[in-house]
Each structure stands twice: as structure tokens, then as C-alpha cells.
């Protein structure tokens, strides 16, 4: 038996929604436990006062990366059937910048805003209303911005394909990058703590 279970027909569309709900609740729970239901904690990342967001996200990336790699190497997961979004370079850069600006101004990203909403934060109510309005505006404006949204399509391209490297080499490089990031974040936080001690 191998994964992805849904694509091998182990369960149907309805049950996949139940699974999605369960995974979503789990995702939200761990975001909350990491402190990401707080806009202060999240925005502190952008002012480099608290690097928890960076560390948690990169831990998740490395865990998923190594987990998927080894599971598919062992033949338990069929990696070619795992969905990942196709790349549209320009629109995704533009969208990423917009999301980042919204993140700094609003204090949440879409996922964490739901977490904050679930824990009863008032600002999250307004943030989610804003997200909903944004989705509505995008939907209505889609005919006008269709050209931009579908510009520079690169298909489902992966880093190994893009750079012509072995899959495992890219895995190793990403792990190295993450470890260097953790080390740098730790050094920076110790420096912040020293500075706070001096004041």
C-alpha cells in the first residue's frame, strides 16, 4: 500500500474532506501552540525581534522534505503523484510581495488569521473580513487581470529540474541552508538578549 491514499482510491472525495478537516485542525493547533495566534509574535519576525516564525517554518520544511524524501525512497509514497502548485514566476512574485505587505500591516497570514479568529482575537475578525473581501475583489477583477495571473507559466517545475541537480543534492543543500539559518537565528537572538540585558 502506498500513498497518496486519495489518488490510489483508498478513500473517496467525501472522506478526503473529513481528512482535510482533521489535518487542518491539527495544523491550526500547532500554529497556535507555536504562538502564531498572536499578531505581535508574527510581526516581530519582520522586525527581527523574534525569529520563532522563521525557525518553526524552516523546521516544518526540513521535516516534510526529509520525511517525503525518505518515504518515497522507501517506496511508501509515490512522489510523482503528490500535488504541488505549478509555477507562474511573475504573478507569484507579485502575489508574494502583496501577501508579505499584508502580513506586516495586518499582523497575520491567512492560516494564522484563522487560528487567531478561533482563539477569539478581534483584530483577526477584521483581518479575515479583509481576506474575504480580497478574494471577492480578485474574483470580480479576474477577467481584467487574467493576463497577469497567467503570465510566465513554468509548469510544475522543481528545484532539481531547474538546476539539473540530483534530487538528494537539493535535499542536502536545503538542509544545510536551514541549519545555517537556525545557527544564525540563534546567534542573533543571543545578541538581542545581551543587548536587552545591557539596557
Amino acid at each position: 500500500m502506498s500513498a497518496p491514499f486519495f489518488k490510489f482510491g483508498l478513500f473517496g472525495a467525501e472522506f478526503s474532506l473529513v481528512m482535510a478537516f482533521a489535518i487542518g485542525i491539527g495544523f491550526g493547533f500547532f500554529l497556535e501552540r507555536a504562538g502564531f495566534g498572536s499578531a505581535r509574535k508574527l510581526t516581530a519576525q519582520f522586525y527581527f525581534k523574534d525569529l520563532a516564525v522563521f525557525k518553526v517554518m524552516f523546521t516544518a520544511i526540513v521535516t516534510a522534505l526529509l520525511g517525503l524524501f525518505y518515504l518515497s525512497w522507501a517506496g511508501v509514497v509515490d512522489l510523482s503523484l503528490v500535488y504541488f502548485g505549478p509555477t507562474w514566476l511573475l504573478p507569484q512574485i507579485a502575489g508574494g510581495l502583496m501577501l508579505g505587505v499584508g502580513f506586516v500591516i495586518g499582523g497575520y497570514c491567512p492560516g494564522t488569521s484563522m487560528v487567531a479568529l478561533a482563539t477569539g482575537k478581534v483584530d483577526a475578525v477584521f483581518f479575515v473580513l479583509g481576506v474575504t473581501a480580497g478574494i471577492f475583489v480578485f474574483g470580480e477583477a479576474y477577467p481584467a487581470i487574467q493576463g497577469l495571473v497567467n503570465a510566465t507559466p513554468m509548469g510544475e517545475i522543481t528545484l532539481p529540474q531547474l538546476f539539473g541537480l540530483r534530487y538528494g543534492v537539493v535535499v542536502f543543500l536545503v538542509v544545510l541552508m536551514a541549519l545555517a539559518g537556525f545557527w544564525g537565528a540563534g546567534a542573533w537572538e543571543r545578541r538581542l538578549a545581551r543587548r536587552a540585558g545591557e539596557v
Binding site: 526529509l66 525512497w73 510523482s80 513554468m154 509548469g155 542536502f172 541549519l179
Partner: protein, 220 residues
């Protein structure tokens, strides 16, 4: 070992991640070519028709300039030269497993009807190409539904409304919509002259010569 036990928990985890990353260099997540076929999994795929792509959907992909798939024309070179769906690459069944296709690419296969594409689908599955799809009805359906859609003379308003969209799609691909003539006669039953196929735009869509590995059509 003593040094290891002195490390903090994050330090130990970091060392663990480093080791896993280092070993990963020698690994291959796609199994290195050895493929285990599970008849039951194949049966489920076939039964649920998840391996099908309808001609309407393919037409939408082409109109939207989607590039996340490879369209493979399995007919002979002569038929391919006469007409092929825009963006299609001509690959014969015998050359299929040598063609420059990646195992995680979405591959849409078509032939005149559906038999060759279905057989090619099994070939690709056996070679570990997991995202292979069959164009439902093949080029026959492409002609009937996309190039030369027919509006029955006794069509309901809903069908007429849907036909407007079909007309636009047909025009995009250089086809001509047809109107069923005799009322009461279904379009399928009425003998229709085989319409001349629109001339394929020159130069023909990028073809993958089996020798040169081909990059994705767009980007990079």
C-alpha cells in the same frame, strides 16, 4: 558519543537532520526505474476514470496557455503533419518509452479513437510514469466536440446557451460549428460530411525529437 549526549535537544535534532540530508545525496525518490505495478491500483484508476481528460478540458487548457502538461500524438507522422491538436508532440508507440518524458510530468495521450492511447497508457504505467492521462474519445471526439460541434435543431435553450461557448472554442481552434438540419433527427444519426480539417498553423507546434531532451515549453 559523550559529545552527542552533551548536545542540547535542538543540537541533536540538527545533527540528525544533517545526517539524513547527507545520506539523501545518494538516494533517489523516484525509485531508480524499478517499478512495482499493483493490478488493483491500476484497476481502481481505470474504473474511476481519473486517468481521463475530456476534449473540452484540454481545449480550455490550451486556451489558458497552461504548460503543466505534455500532449502526445500517437498517430503516424503523416497524420500528424495533416492535423494535430495545437501543442501536441508526435511520438509513436514504439518510441514512447524512449521519448524525453519525465516521470512526474502530466502526460496526455491521444490517438484517433482511444485504443492506442489506452495501450500507451499501460506502457507508461509499466515504466513508472504515473501522471499519464488519456484524451477521452481521442481525435475523433476532438473533431466532434471542439472543432465541429453540432447544435441539434431541436436543442433546448440550455443547450443553445452552452453552444455559444462551444462556438467560440471552435473558432479559436479554426473549426466551424454546425447546425443540425432536420428537426427530430439527432445530430449523431444524421449523416454529416466529413469537414475538411483546418490547416495546422505553420510552423507546427514544437515537436520533441526523440533524441534531444526537451525542456518545458515555456519559462526558464
Amino acid at each position: 558519543m559523550r559529545y552527542f549526549s552533551q548536545l542540547s535537544l535542538p543540537g541533536k535534532l540538527a545533527l540528525f537532520a544533517f545526517a539524513l540530508g547527507l545520506v539523501a545525496v545518494f538516494g533517489d525518490p523516484y525509485g531508480g526505474g524499478a517499478v512495482t505495478l499493483h493490478p488493483q491500483e491500476l484497476a481502481v484508476l481505470v474504473q474511476k476514470e481519473v486517468d481521463h481528460v475530456s476534449v473540452e478540458r484540454l481545449a480550455d487548457w490550451i486556451i489558458q496557455k497552461k504548460s503543466d502538461y505534455r500532449l502526445i500524438d500517437l498517430r503516424d507522422a503523416g497524420s500528424y503533419a495533416t492535423y494535430h491538436i495545437p501543442g501536441a508532440e508526435n511520438v509513436q508507440l514504439t518510441g514512447l518509452t524512449d521519448a524525453a518524458l519525465a516521470r512526474n510530468e502530466k502526460i496526455v495521450l491521444y490517438s484517433d479513437g482511444g485504443i492506442h492511447s489506452a495501450q500507451a497508457w499501460f506502457l507508461l504505467k509499466a515504466k513508472g510514469y504515473d501522471a499519464a492521462y488519456i484524451l477521452r474519445g481521442g481525435l475523433d471526439d476532438w473533431k466532434d466536440q471542439v472543432l465541429y460541434p453540432v447544435l441539434a435543431a431541436n436543442a433546448t435553450p440550455v443547450e443553445t446557451a452552452a453552444f455559444q461557448r462551444k462556438k467560440e472554442v471552435s473558432a479559436f481552434f479554426g473549426g466551424t460549428p454546425r447546425l443540425g438540419s432536420a428537426p427530430g433527427v439527432t445530430a449523431a444519426a444524421a449523416p454529416l460530411p466529413e469537414p475538411a480539417l483546418p490547416k495546422v498553423q505553420a510552423p507546427a507546434a514544437p515537436t520533441a525529437s526523440a533524441a534531444a531532451p526537451k525542456k518545458k515549453k515555456e519559462g526558464c
